[in-house]
């Protein structure tokens, strides 16, 4: 089955580089001191699920003024498992309680789509000015590191690693203007969240160098874009990836924690001043399940498209395919990244439906692609129904 995925993917990478070159500097605050002061949370909205569970413990008329802590686990490929959409959802949940809630994004990802990075950047930049947004690192490589670095606070699990933000497509890493733009972009993100720009640059391009010196008394860290610092972070042969100890020592991270209890302690959350709102985990777990289920279904559907019904003749196979088109559409509606085939296997649009070029003209730019796919599938179904009718006539 021939798909249009390769072209679309390449376009996605090219367009993201273009965005990186032309996008204005992130508008809201680049001043790390502008992180929201630790406020008193607005009384919980009675309609929120956390408020419901806490309301049972509060007296009648009593309002929960504790801050809500949302732990949002996001893993898998950036653009598939790790997306801005789930962050948008948790932002809405947090907004119900007013500014100053705490959102912990637990990241476990080896990277992914640059285009998704643009969306994540927009979401996190907006969120961090309203709430305390924190990255908790299990594994954050490439695009996942780029994601984490938008957070003003980063914590590691002891086994955590973060870095290596080299951009590449296929066999080639970014070069020339595209590379310069990407280096600048990551440096900007790094600085915008209160970190050293050169640290960001060294995660992108190995010839760049960064070292640091730490004052023994004050603990103040000074970075150098050469090797004159006391500690070499990244030499001219290596890309930069942090382990938890080095991240902590140079101030890149704010601490190391392996459990939520440990994390809350080092985030200096006072006992009884906060409550863990389960919406974060619900949203994260629900999306993880959706990705897993649709990925499995996709494999089955593709196999059935080729094989099912073929032993009983063309009419049987067409009848099967009409049903499979509905199943494919459901995947498009539930989990577009899986349907796009970002993790491999090609786009979930049969070759027979790809012939409708007029429908796919705006496909790449469409924010939600399912309606376009539905049109194509409806056309193909009509065509199949016509063929079926003709077969029945001739029989």
């Amino acid at each position: 089955m021939k798909y249009i995925s390769t072209t679309l993917f390449a376009l996605a990478v090219v367009s993201s580089i273009a965005v990186a070159q032309t996008k204005p500097a992130s508008s809201p605050s680049t001043d790390p001191k502008k992180a929201p002061a630790i406020p008193v949370a607005k009384p919980a909205d009675a309609s929120s699920s956390a408020a419901k569970s806490d309301a049972t413990k509060l007296g009648a008329g009593e309002k929960d003024t504790r801050r809500q802590v949302f732990i949002l686990p996001l893993g898998g490929m950036v653009g598939v498992g790790l997306r801005h959409n789930e962050m948008d959802k948790i932002e809405k949940e947090a907004d119900k309680f007013g500014p100053g809630q705490i959102i912990v994004i637990r990241i476990n990802s080896g990277g992914g789509l640059v285009t998704e990075g643009d969306e994540i950047a927009e979401t996190l930049t907006r969120m961090r000015d309203k709430h305390r947004v924190v990255a908790w690192i299990e594994e954050a490589i490439s695009g996942a590191a780029f994601t984490a670095m938008h957070c003003r606070e980063i914590y590691f699990l002891k086994t955590g690693s973060l870095g290596s933000i080299t951009m590449f497509a296929g066999d080639k890493s970014a070069e020339g203007k595209a590379l310069e733009a990407w280096i600048a972009r990551v440096a900007e993100v790094s600085e915008g969240a209160g970190r050293n720009a050169q640290v960001g640059r060294c995660m992108v391009y190995s010839p760049l160098v960064v070292s640091y010196t730490k004052d023994a008394k004050s603990g103040k860290v000074t970075f150098f874009d050469n090797d004159t610092g006391e500690h070499m972070l990244s030499d001219d042969k290596d890309n930069l990836t942090f382990t938890e100890d080095v991240a902590l020592d140079c101030g890149f991270s704010q601490g190391t924690a392996d459990t939520e209890e440990e994390l809350f302690k080092i985030m200096q959350l006072k006992p009884n001043s906060f409550v863990v709102n389960q919406q974060g985990k619900k949203i994260g777990d629900a999306w993880e399940k959706t990705v897993a289920d649709t990925s499995k279904a996709r494999v089955r559907i593709l196999a059935e498209w080729q094989i099912k019904g073929s032993g009983q003749g063309p009419a049987a196979q067409i009848a099967v395919r009409i049903k499979l088109l509905d199943e494919m559409l459901r995947i498009w509606e539930k989990c577009e990244p899986v349907a796009m085939g970002y993790e491999g296997g090609g786009i979930l649009i049969p070759e027979e439906a790809q012939q409708y070029e007029d429908l796919f003209a705006g496909f790449q730019k469409a924010k939600v692609k399912a309606p376009i796919v539905k049109q194509a599938f409806d056309r193909l179904k009509k065509q199949y129904q016509k063929e079926l009718a003709e077969m029945r006539k001739s029989n």
Partner: protein, 366 residues
């Protein structure tokens, strides 16, 4: 206030690096040193079978955790026995390539996290009977490390297998990423990245100095003792070298020796003697999945024969269903099948579909 600044800095560091580890396994550090501890042995690999990804994977340790919660031991001994190809000597050419491990770092990380967080209040010790390959990263996830006299800590250079790409800049990206991920395990054990990098990357050098019993590892040749001055070979450790350097806390060839080194003169080994500890759970798992795997290979050979004859499609379907069932019960079976170029679970489903439609091919391999 100024003179307290270093103390405050230390306290702050302690606060901000709060990943608690298990209590010390040494007898002298116990709340009640006179108590004879009930010991619980958890093998990672057993009786010559220690393939990462099949014999050693997260799912079996989830069962172990449940059992530990019931048995409530006072001391856990992780017993690691995992050598690539069974000999760990790929250069001799007589190793069994199908027994080489292939790590899923996420699965391994979750396994280590599970064992560490669930057993956070139980003293633990890592006892390496032998380790060649990715298992060495597992071994170094525990700070209290003992080895048998013939044990090795070799083979972390296998991480370099993940670092393949035509573009040199992408190679550097992968190198930094994969070594960083692997070093996360060493960080869990409190070992520094310099040690891990020298064990993974040939061009890295390694030396060590001592401040009393504290090791100061260096990624150069300027330490008191040169461990690896070559730019062509990685650092590997045998038991004697590891003990001499202080990397391992002692050499013990038996549990009795190990307990002696830990300071115990008596202990409760009723769980082990009664076949009631992790040895039973892990041993049964390894026996069962390998049996299922061997049977699945036979079944697949039968399928290939049946599939040639359209009249035997029912029998062919049954053999595939048996393999499918084995894979669902033991994901390690699918893991081995995929490693050996045989069908995955998804491939089996496709073959079943083809059989149903009368289109099955004799060979389902890739």
């Amino acid at each position: 206030m100024k003179r307290f600044a270093p103390l405050f800095a230390l306290m702050l560091t302690a606060v901000f690096a709060m990943a608690a580890d298990a209590p010390s396994p040494l007898q002298m550090n116990q709340k009640d040193p006179s108590k004879a501890p009930k010991i619980y042995v958890i093998p990672m690999g057993l009786d010559g079978n220690g393939q990462i990804g099949s014999d050693i994977r997260l799912s079996v340790y989830e069962q172990v955790v449940k059992d530990v919660k019931v048995k409530k031991p006072d001391l856990i001994i992780f017993q690691l026995e995992s050598t690539d190809g069974k000999t760990g000597k790929a250069y001799l050419g007589n190793d069994d390539r199908s027994e080489r491990g292939r790590i899923d770092f996420e699965d391994a990380r979750k396994m280590v996290d599970l064992l560490k967080t669930e057993f956070v209040n139980i003293p633990q010790v890592m006892w390496v009977k032998d380790s060649v390959g990715f298992s060495t990263a597992l071994a170094l996830a525990w700070p209290d490390l003992y080895m048998t006299s013939k044990a090795r800590l070799w083979g972390m250079s296998r991480v370099m297998e993940f670092v393949q790409h035509p573009d040199p800049e992408v190679v550097r990206k992968y190198l930094a990423a994969w070594t960083g991920i692997a070093n996360g395990f060493l960080r869990r054990g409190g070992y520094p990245p310099e040690l891990g990098l020298a064990m993974m990357r040939p061009e890295k050098t390694l030396s060590v100095s001592w401040d009393g019993r504290n090791l100061i590892w260096r990624d150069d040749t300027k330490g008191t003792f040169l461990v690896d001055g070559s730019e062509n070979f990685v650092a590997n450790f045998d038991a004697k070298t590891a003990e001499d350097l202080g990397l391992c806390d002692g050499i013990a060839d038996s549990i009795e020796d190990l307990m002696f080194l830990l300071g115990y003169r008596e202990w409760d080994d009723s769980l082990g003697k009664g076949n009631q500890d992790g040895v039973k759970i892990v041993g049964d798992y390894i026996t069962d999945w390998r049996k299922a795997y061997t049977k699945s290979i036979e079944n697949f050979t039968e399928f290939e024969n049946y599939a040639k004859d359209p009249k035997k499609s029912s029998a062919a379907k049954q053999t595939l269903e048996k393999i499918r069932s084995a894979m669902k019960k033991f994901p390690a079976v699918e893991y081995r099948f995929k490693m050996e170029g045989r069908p995955s679970l998804a491939d089996l489903d496709t073959l079943l579909l083809q059989l149903k439609e009368g289109k099955a091919q004799p060979s389902g391999g890739r």
